[in-house]
């Protein structure tokens, strides 16, 4: 992992002191809410329905044991004993008191964490593949590039007041696990025809009320040019992005208005005329960052490990199912990537208690190299578990309520906090997710891989547009209804789902989803996921199943 240097530490100390004084002045009335609001938002503090919500950045989703324990401490001391992992690899605490936030910030700084730029019209946390560095199918580890972007974008003077927020994702695998296409800028690490490694740059992706998939801005960008090219793209956005209408302020709207060819022309022209020198990444600079992400010295796996694993799989059907769905091949023989589900049936997706956080910290030290990754699908990845240790690892997480074997299945639902917590929401998400997950669990083996995503409003924090089945909460004359989409996808085949018909009341969501799944199961060919079946047969059979023949 990246470790802070003296500059980083001093910066956080100074920022905490500044913020402590800002809170003090707000509480005694020297700052009005109008004056204070942008200051607290810059530090990740929102005011929600019941309390302040504090959003903490988890750079590219990576957490150390000390950081996990600190999140547990914050949950216990300042919240109600739990936190919530978000759809952008961050953590939110929903029951925070304003006067305690400076102390939380100081506590976070002690473990090299903060909440800066988790809100506001700036460059947000750069997200990545939770299997980065350990999956066999990647060209190279994307995390060093996320870290380079993090250092460049933190308090960037030119890009701290953009027209709107700006999100970047980086992936290096054929299988996109970072939802790159739905980001303002998406970066795929690729090889060109000459075998050189660089970036394919996408621009203008995003969800919200205008869902658009990112378009290719540049097919190949050499590594050394990453920051200068990003700077050129952001300059064009900063100059031409709309500031008169919040709903048209994201870069996706600019790209749509200009057209991708004109956007490319503008960015390339800016890039050609600007001085690259200060931003060029030397081999030494890149290597220095890469050192922080060097693979651990993997001990030779236990000779009996495979036999231990095979015996446990044969003896315990629940464990066998967990291995099938929650583990992924590791690039290192004898090791596995394990995903701990935070989607126990009937519980809020992404929530985790202080005790569970402490346990994950302990397990990451005992069975790994002291690191976990938070996923944008609101689960937690253990990147390096010896395969022979999987049975005992599973026993420990299962005893703590984290042994649900549902990764990538129908009950592994993404959901935003919705109207139970969020002041922007129109409808609840969590109860819908809880009921639907419980309802579908019995048939999720039959259904197979499935991505269901739920948002409580059109801002789409639950990524409903790109769910195989998406569910959007809407308000109709004070009552909650749910609009359902089908055929969306957040992976390399990214697509926005199609609305199947009029919104349904909450008590009809489960049956509507059942009908959509029946159509999929009936019509799918071997190996087809729902979006592939949808592309082949179209929307009509799905619409007819829910609403009847026209």
């Amino acid at each position: 992992m990246y470790r802070y240097d003296e500059f980083d530490r001093r910066f956080l100390e100074e920022r905490t002191a500044q913020y402590r004084d800002q809170v003090r002045r707000r509480l005694i009335g020297q700052l009005s809410e109008e004056e204070f609001r942008p200051l607290r938002l810059r530090n990740g503090l929102y005011l929600q329905l019941h309390a302040y919500m504090y959003r903490i950045a988890i750079p590219y989703g990576t957490l150390s044991p000390a950081q996990l324990r600190m999140l547990a401490h914050i949950a216990r001391k300042y919240d109600k004993g739990y936190g919530h992992f978000t759809t952008r690899q961050n953590m939110q605490f929903n029951w925070i008191k304003l006067d305690e936030t400076p102390d939380i910030m100081a506590d976070l700084a002690s473990v090299e964490m903060h909440s800066i730029q988790t809100s506001g019209n700036c460059i947000r946390n750069t997200t990545s593949d939770p299997f980065a560095g350990v999956t066999a199918d990647e060209i190279e580890d994307p995390r060093p590039w996320c870290e380079i972007i993090r250092q460049w974008s933190t308090l960037h003077p030119e890009f701290s007041w953009l027209p709107r927020k700006f999100k970047i994702a980086v992936s290096a695998s054929e299988k996109d696990r970072a939802a790159v296409h739905i980001h303002d800028i998406g970066l795929y690490i690729v090889k060109n025809d000459a075998g050189e490694v660089g970036f394919q740059v996408l621009v203008g992706g995003g969800l919200g009320r205008t869902p658009i998939m990112g378009k290719v801005l540049r097919e190949f960008l050499p590594k050394k040019d990453l920051l200068s090219y990003l700077e050129a793209a952001l300059r064009i956005y900063n100059e031409y992005g709309r500031r008169d209408n919040i709903y048209k302020a994201r870069i996706k709207i600019l790209v749509q208005a200009l057209g991708i060819d004109k956007m490319r022309e503008e960015v390339e022209a800016e890039w050609a005329q600007m001085d690259h020198t200060p931003l060029d990444l030397s081999d030494q600079t890149i290597a220095a960052i890469y050192e922080h992400f060097a693979p651990p010295a993997y001990p030779a796996p236990d000779a009996q490990g495979e036999a231990t694993l095979a015996t446990a799989i044969a003896a315990d059907a629940k464990f066998a199912r967990w291995v099938k769905h929650n583990t992924h091949p590791h690039k290192q023989p004898g090791y596995a990537i394990a995903t701990v589900s935070l989607k126990p049936l009937g519980k809020p997706p992404g929530d985790i208690t202080a005790e569970q956080l402490d346990l994950l910290a302990e397990l990451s030290e005992r069975y790994g190299f002291g690191e976990v990754r938070v996923t944008h699908e609101q689960n937690v990845v253990f990147p390096d578990i010896p395969r022979g240790a999987l049975p005992v690892f599973y026993a420990e997480i299962a005893a703590a309520g984290m042994g649900t074997a549902n990764i990538g299945l129908a009950s592994d639902i993404i959901a935003c906090p919705g109207l139970d917590y969020c002041s922007l929401a129109n409808a609840r998400s969590i109860p819908v997710a809880e009921k639907l997950g419980e309802h579908l669990a019995a048939r999720e083996e039959e259904i197979g891989p499935m991505k269901i995503k739920i948002s409580g409003c059109i801002n789409a924090c639950g990524h409903h547009h790109v769910g195989h089945i998406g569910i959007l909460g809407v308000d109709k004359n004070g009552e909650e209804f749910y609009q359902i989409t089908v055929g969306g996808s957040a992976d390399e085949q990214s697509a926005v789902g199609t609305i199947v018909g009029r919104a349904v009341p909450s008590d009809e969501v489960n049956s509507a989803v059942d009908k959509l799944l029946d159509v999929y199961v009936k019509h799918r060919s071997d190996g087809e996921d729902l979006p592939a079946t949808y592309r082949r047969i179209g929307a009509e059979p799905f619409k007819e199943a829910v609403y009847g023949a026209r």
Binding site: L47, K97, L419, E434, E479
Partner: protein, 89 residues
């Protein structure tokens, strides 16, 4: 007030901890909707609340419609019900 009279109250979030609070008259605020003062025109209450001795108490005060049944004040709509009584999940 009779049943046909529209009832309104004023609510906001407490500055210190963000808890939903309701204007309870005479410059005071309460975390319980039962303590809210109601009026046919909440705008008048809003002006009164802003002049109160504790202008720092509530962040973003706004007017809400409420029900009054047998003297018991209740929220209208899912959002205000959740604000008044807490998350449902």
């Amino acid at each position: 007030m009779n049943a046909e009279t529209p009832h309104q109250a004023v609510t906001g979030n407490r500055l210190r901890d963000g808890v939903p609070i309701y204007y309870a008259g005479n410059g005071s605020w309460s975390p319980s909707i039962a303590d809210a003062v109601v009026a046919p025109d909440g705008g008048i209450l809003l002006v009164e609340a802003a002049k109160g001795p504790l202008p720092l108490e509530a962040v973003g005060p706004y007017v809400i419609d409420v029900t009054v049944t047998d003297g018991v004040i209740g929220p209208i709509g899912v959002k205000e019900t959740i604000r008044a009584f807490g998350p449902t999940a």
